[in-house]
């Protein structure tokens, strides 16, 4: 991280762009769509054009794989990467709990630091909740997950 020469504003910016977020942006996990899947969704932030395609594979109620492709800002792309990492291997019920926790964190307007026992690395997005214009970036992948989970269950 560069030296903190710009003071408070720089710290605000660093609280948005946590190291782990930029790591996921530069080295996205689970990126590249599985050729077979139980459901697929494509979500777009119409106001900015950021987009994600998300595939889900289920074994009963267990998420065996989430794979995705997309383009957009560091926040949206890192978020879908971290979400895929976090939810793979979880049951649908566990995943729903985690997703709700993340959505609540994004609505916290900077008042919550997030629960690392539930969200693990995704607590790094807590700083995003202070920037109302970026919350929808962070939520793009998670909203896509909610959609794809419903579609996969409807099909199975």
């Amino acid at each position: 991280m560069p030296p903190n020469i710009l003071g408070v504003v720089k710290m605000e910016l660093d609280s948005l762009y946590q190291e782990v977020i930029l790591d996921h942006y530069k080295h996205p996990q689970h990126k590249g769509l599985n050729s077979t899947f139980d459901a697929q969704v494509h979500h777009v932030n119409t106001s900015c054009g950021d987009e994600v395609t998300l595939n889900i594979n289920l074994d009963g109620y267990c998420i065996t794989s989430l794979s995705w492709d997309g383009q957009g800002c560091s926040i949206s792309q890192a978020s879908v990467s971290m979400m895929s990492d976090l939810l793979t291997g979880k049951t649908l019920e566990e995943a729903a709990f985690i997703v709700k926790n993340f959505i609540d964190l994004m609505g916290s307007k900077g008042t919550s630091i997030g629960d690392p026992l539930i969200l693990e690395d995704a607590v790094a997005f807590a700083g995003v909740s202070k920037f109302p214009g970026r919350v929808k970036c962070a939520l793009l992948g998670w909203m896509a997950y909610k959609d794809v989970a419903i579609q996969a269950q409807a099909k199975n």
């Binding site: 605000e12 910016l13 930029l22 106001s47 054009g49 950021d50 957009g72 560091s74």
Partner: protein, 418 residues
Amino acid sequence: MSISVSQIRKDFPIFERTVRGGKSLVYLDSGATSQKPISVIEAESNFYKLHNAAAHRGAHQLAEEATDAYEGARQIVADFLAAPGGADEIIFTKSATESLNLLAYAMGNAPIGNRFALERGDRIVVTEMEHHANLVPWQQLASRTGADLAWFGITDEGRLDLSNIDEIITRNTKIVSLTHQSNVLGTINPLSEIITRAHEVGAIVILDACQSVPHMAVNVETLGIDFLAFSGHKSLGPTGVGILWGRKDLLDELPPFLYGGSMVRSVDMTGATWSAVPQKFEAGVPNMAQAVGLGEALTYLTQLGMDNVSAHEHALTGYLLEKMSFISDLTVVGPTKNLSRGGAISFTLGNIHPHDVGQYLDSQGVAVRTGHHCAWPLAKRMQVPATTRASLYIYNDESDCDVLIEAIQGASKYFGSR
């Protein structure tokens, strides 16, 4: 006379505040909306404080004053655009978007025999650089009427490709609607060839002037167009007011869009007849305070002189384009030569996403817009998912450009070195 930015900034209260922990505001987002001089803020406020009543209604002094203020603003707009038919050719809407929709819906209401009636086989022409507000209404009108939609493509530099003009504007073309100046590329479109060809085939020409009227002298008569739309809030005026100008004879023939109070000549239980223009297109109590504020805004611009405004912006655009040319990973999306282009400059910065660039610039007090700027097909054509856009106006100077350049370099370092 040239423009004194330091004098102008004193007229704009917003520049007294700071942003993001004490940073001076470097406002480079006038393409989205302009800041407002105190005279406009006071004109709007004074209307409410002193004259508020429903214009064209009410048998009392305040109603007279409100009507005078509202109609006075209409005259100012007519003078500003040099409307040949005077104030009757000026219609107040809530936005330029509404102005364009008004045209599209009114034309859709035209009965067979009316010159605006469209049918299968007719054509509507736009360009690939249109703002959604001058694209989607025409797509919808085409689908409602069975007309087909055609468009001018764009060169890699971001200019209109007019090489196939006769194939685009065909004999059955009824409407040609295009932007005067691209809100993304900054390109100022050459109009004369398009207007000549459009009129040759009997089509009307509609100009989306949202990015030109605030920035250069626009004389509707000299241009030779038929309709023009612009927004108040991009022209130093309040939000909630837009303008539609049209030639008197065309407005006379165009059917109404919104029906209701004050747009009728007579009503009985089975039908109604319409008032003369402009009232025919102004149903309901209008946004009077905003119209008055817009009148004050155009007066402010007139006092500066629109030729001075455009000369100032042209010089500043040249300055910024040159500074940008020295940043190796910066690519301008749009003309890089300061010729027939205005002060909206979109760019990409290496592979750093524009939202991230914009966020960093914001941390330095620099306000820009990022995204596709409501011109999604254009972004696709230019093969960029999004851009960062700096847009210049009368209150910007070279020091603003310098801060921007430094902040862009800072963004490169911030996202590159981590």
